[in-house]
Amino acid sequence: MPLGEAAILEQTPVSGGYCLLRLAAPELAAAAQPGQFIHLRIPGLETTALRRPFSIYRAGAGELAILYKRVGRGTDVLATLPAGTRLSVMGPLGNGFPLASGDRLPILVGGGYGVAPLVFLATRLPRKGVVLLGGRRAADVLCIADFEALGWSVEVATQDGSLGTEGLVTDLLGRHLDAGAPPAELFACGPDGMLRAVGTRAIAAGCRAWLSLDHHMVCGIGACLACVQRLREADGSIHIARVCKDGPIFEARTIVWEDPA
């Protein structure tokens, strides 16, 4: 996929500081797989400003969308760009989620902007399942309608109880991983703490969990080694993977979590 430019088609605030960005990018949209990301150059930043990675939220019909949260100078500038602006885009990058065979119930677990790749995933999985969404407050819980429109069943947890259950999204997992529940396969994207908790429970329950890691990136294509993650191979040996190229999605069992800094 050569380095390309894509014009902004739409730029719309959603809720809780999130924005939807639609880009005209036919080749990229055709190639994109759920869980992959694009690496955007944000114009108007100072010299030597790095690209920013964003998961692909939707892809098809010649266009590609991301759902981003304003958190710093890059996303602040991004939010000011009008439709028509051309952006330099690298992508689709990364490995993407495995598209499960359909013999296990897919459970998607998303926190914050982590829902974005899960929506795309939900459009491609061979079997519909359950989506568990979390956030601090109602405004942080996105895409419920997307999932419902796709025929998925959605459960929500918010820390302040303003939507769904009061608590963490991982609290919703329990019942789906019970001995009596149908065999499941997990797909999760969100903050590190959430991913770690999802992974732990999946391992305990004996099911697979595909976790999308959110490491800061420089090159986005595996050249700089800024985004590494230690993995434990099946034979117990340790392998240093690059989240941007070998990931961002890894199976929970392989991930060697570092102690919290």
Partner: protein, 309 residues
Amino acid sequence: MTTSASPSLAVNVGGIAMQNPVTVASGTFGYGVEYADWLDVRRLGAITVKGIRLEAWPGNPLPRHVEVPGGLVNAIGLQGPGVAGFIAQYLPRLREFGVPVIVNIWGTTVEEYAEVAARLSDVPGIAGLEVNVSCPNVKAGGSAFGADPATMAGVVAAVRRRTPLPVIPKLAPNVPAMGPFARAAAEAGADALSLVNTLPAMVIDIERRRPVLANRVGGLSGACIHPVAVKHVYDAAQAVKLPILAMGGIQEAREAIEFLIAGATAVAVGTANFIDPSTPLRVIDGIRDYLVRHQMRDVAQLTGSLAVS
């Protein structure tokens, strides 16, 4: 690629014949293969790969980088597959690109530097060795060997004894004067000089009152170091006759041309690859355009053409 009217871009850096004066900076281009999907690497003057030591090396914990105004501070810590891993996993593919491969080497002892050089001299497909005596991000090795001219020269001499390949010490920018380092390297048998590496730097997270980088300190690269690098290249070119491979903050052809005018024979694009992988090709084209516009037939006319009154 070159028509008869087109100026000659070919250069020779201490024995490495390059079709044009533009390579990539070690550590910013992986092992050549990663960027092959993003630009036509066959058009590069050479490919310089990430630092290699004898054994595989894990590098530093994360975070390994932080953005700063006009630059990037990194502390990757020279993660790499070691000599054998490099030769097995990357060299075959690199050879296929048909451009000279420069291998950046380092060690934790003088002997290790020499041993790495010797091992890489036994395999075909390597055009030269860039000897990293200036990495700020590893405790042993790296800048510990580059802080004074004599120690640095000791490494260069040891490498020189074990390899017939062109030896290009890569020097640090955080020195009072580049002249003594350039002269010491020349006397120790260097074929060319590579400068500069990153500037040692530190960024603090004021809310947590901790260094942002797990390694505490890192190396500053990018646009902001360019004027510092140009001064060093100029000083080195005044001090010795060796060809100079210059780097630090190249973003467009303009910065590369400054290096050439200051005395460099070739240049390397580093951090800018991350932002725009087509940078090295734009730089090649920009140098050609400049030569045409200034009616120069050969890029050699540009090297050291600075007029000082």
